[in-house]
Symmetry: C2
Amino acid sequence: MYACLCLLLLFFTTFAEATTYPPGGFHHLSSSLRQNKKKTSKSKSQLPFETHYFPQNLDHFSFRPESYKVFHQKYLINRRFWRKGGPIFVYTGNEGDIDWFASNTGFMSDIAPKFRALLVFIEHRFYGESTPFGKKSHKSAETLGYLNSQQALADYAILIRSLKQNLSSEASPVVVFGGSYGGMLAAWFRLKYPHIAIGALASSAPILHFDNIVPLTSFYDAISQDFKDASVNCFKVIKRSWEELDAVSDMKHGLPELSKKFRTCKGLHSQYSARDWLMGAFVYTAMVNYATAANFMAPLPGYPVEQMCKIIDRFPRGSSNLDRAFAAASLYYNYSGSEKCFELEQQTDDHGLDGWGWQACTEMVMPMSCSNQSMFPPYENDYEAFEEQCMSRYGVKPRPHWITTEFGGKRIETVLKRFGSNIIFSNGMQDPWSRGGVLKNISSSIIALVTKKGAHHADLRAATKGDPEWLKEQRRQEVEIIEKWISEYYRDLKEEE
Amino acid sequence: MYACLCLLLLFFTTFAEATTYPPGGFHHLSSSLRQNKKKTSKSKSQLPFETHYFPQNLDHFSFRPESYKVFHQKYLINRRFWRKGGPIFVYTGNEGDIDWFASNTGFMSDIAPKFRALLVFIEHRFYGESTPFGKKSHKSAETLGYLNSQQALADYAILIRSLKQNLSSEASPVVVFGGSYGGMLAAWFRLKYPHIAIGALASSAPILHFDNIVPLTSFYDAISQDFKDASVNCFKVIKRSWEELDAVSDMKHGLPELSKKFRTCKGLHSQYSARDWLMGAFVYTAMVNYATAANFMAPLPGYPVEQMCKIIDRFPRGSSNLDRAFAAASLYYNYSGSEKCFELEQQTDDHGLDGWGWQACTEMVMPMSCSNQSMFPPYENDYEAFEEQCMSRYGVKPRPHWITTEFGGKRIETVLKRFGSNIIFSNGMQDPWSRGGVLKNISSSIIALVTKKGAHHADLRAATKGDPEWLKEQRRQEVEIIEKWISEYYRDLKEEE
């Protein structure tokens, strides 16, 4: 699942100051994912899911009269493989339409027959159709205030408990799955609600990307490394392109010139739109650098980073670096070749993603920098500017230490070495988010499954013919571990009787 | 610590209908603890605590503008024994003034020198001085809405983290302690915030007293058993006294007669005040049936249940059962003999306890019944009547399944067998709350320490000369286990380096 953690990169600044440009106070989505709205696979999943809506309280952690306001949370169910009393596999939805995640998490459907499992995909509050205040949900901090991860986890706990009761399957073991932010939620759900889920597969879950646990530069450094690994020349070309971009912009008719160069549908209002658009292409392509052709963020060939670098490397010597970077980025935005022009500044949202900006401004504070070693324009994180942006956009201050206070993360190996169990943290090192993930085994049942080549929650995608051996092996291990959890659970259940 | 869980017994009904009399929709406190307001040991603890106030956000789980309202949470510190970097022992305050709990939790002060530990007692939000809306805090559901256990746990997490930072002792191991509701909080804190506390001593914590996990009759049955164990005759006398009470009340001048019999300062408005007053005495005396003289709920001699039964048994044959019950109850309300008359209907609160009624009506839903086998008037729990009372008092509905959804409890042995660590559940079987506690070891580090004779968190009280061997042994084991946690922690810390 992805896209959405991308949202971690806030999209404040299409028209903003250069000083606030940066990662950690970011954007892209406007120009990258959103550009692709007609193309990404929102298509109904292959499986026939039933759609349901669960009445959920607005606020689980306060008991004011308003807390009892009910909204309807969407969830999808597939019973085809289920044997009553058997396991229930729950996807803890992240920041978007749940259908989109369901159709991009084929792994769960692939393994359901083997486990005779019930499949459930729950939509995250304030995303997709699960908006407590309808169209006004994202209006202001008064309504958005109820959008956060703790409330979402409590939603899942309540819904799962009720569902099991309705199915008369209270003894069924529940395993939670999630990717990206959904993976963070899955891991946290196992930690906070061990009485509801017996285990969690948290794929590409950067739970350590908070509060300076990992270096602020790690995300953009990882992307740069991906491109360097594909081709050193490619890395250099991209690194040099930003200066050329600035130079063009600074010309007398810079913006019209830039608009022409970038084949924009409408004239650009800001040079930063062009920069963001380029960066978005490189960031997202690194994330979805899957081994086989896929259509999650955008339709792309297998190993698209290598393909981008091939485009760059094929240019004749002496070509403009900016032209090359544009051509490479076009792979991401126009793989099919059907786009006549590009919408760099148009904000549309076809995945129900709106809301992440709020989360990033309140709890999901993941500051980032770009080091001089990266291929991106250098940027020193400016927390005060970020805070100011959040204040001016939403009227509330971020709580930068809240996530590590509520969920931990610091010295996680020591804390979880003697506490907790049954979590798989899977990561592919080509995914820039992997740097904020758990990359080493913590205990005999809190396991890290790391692949050198994998991209953003590649393991959660449906198996395809061209899948490489290392990906098959990662999934095989996941199945084996989940089998162990479930058989242990049934053994414990028997002992109870 | 106690008193307060008593509050679990709501005090709705001093003037209420017989049909809503019952435990689980109860009262007492008005007439029992509150009667003793001038006598219980609120006196400053022996230790010189510094008093501090920590700026705390009103709502940690929503980000509305109002959530950021700051209130000042009181906490006490004693540094006398602390060696910087050494352990920090935190009492997770329950439903009352923190000074009161500090002065009744001498165990922590007793063991602090051995551990060279810092002592911290944190007051629970909405109790004592820690009232977010000042005198208006308990006005309505709009303000009380923010009073609940999850917010309290988050308060503790934030305060502890900040305190450690201010003391430049971020590597200090934190152990949390609590009794009664405070013990529930301590256990839940370890489960939800393992990254902040390395272990918890949860004394007399009835975390299973929810959602029908233990029989609804267990609490009153246990009290009855305590009295029966002291004297079968005593048990019978009390059991028969209720009918006599009803008979007197039903007389033509029943209430004045009853007022005379109960030596009330003012004429009674309801016979139920007399019943509640008697029940309160038996309930609280069973809870604080400590081996030595103590002054927690009221000044009392050692083993006060036996003393009460001696009073009853000493009456000449054929004496009125009601007179005997009254004489026994007077031990609780007037051990010093200085009371000229009793205030059965006066509601005063000297321990800052107000607020538990709210918690019991929202999250802390602990329904109770009185079986025919108990010595109390039989009562079948009536959930609908309870819900109605809560609605009419506060305008909100209870959430009876919330605590088990949020914190678990059902099939706790199986859930925690493979999850979590470092919790001691201590209980004394004479304490009626013990029946809702964890009474068997769950794993090698989630341990139950049970004594046959102990009363409500007897282990947390300061050691006294007359302490029996089994109590000393229970405390010795607690110290040994906590030592193990701490030395393991320091070993882990070294390995990290």
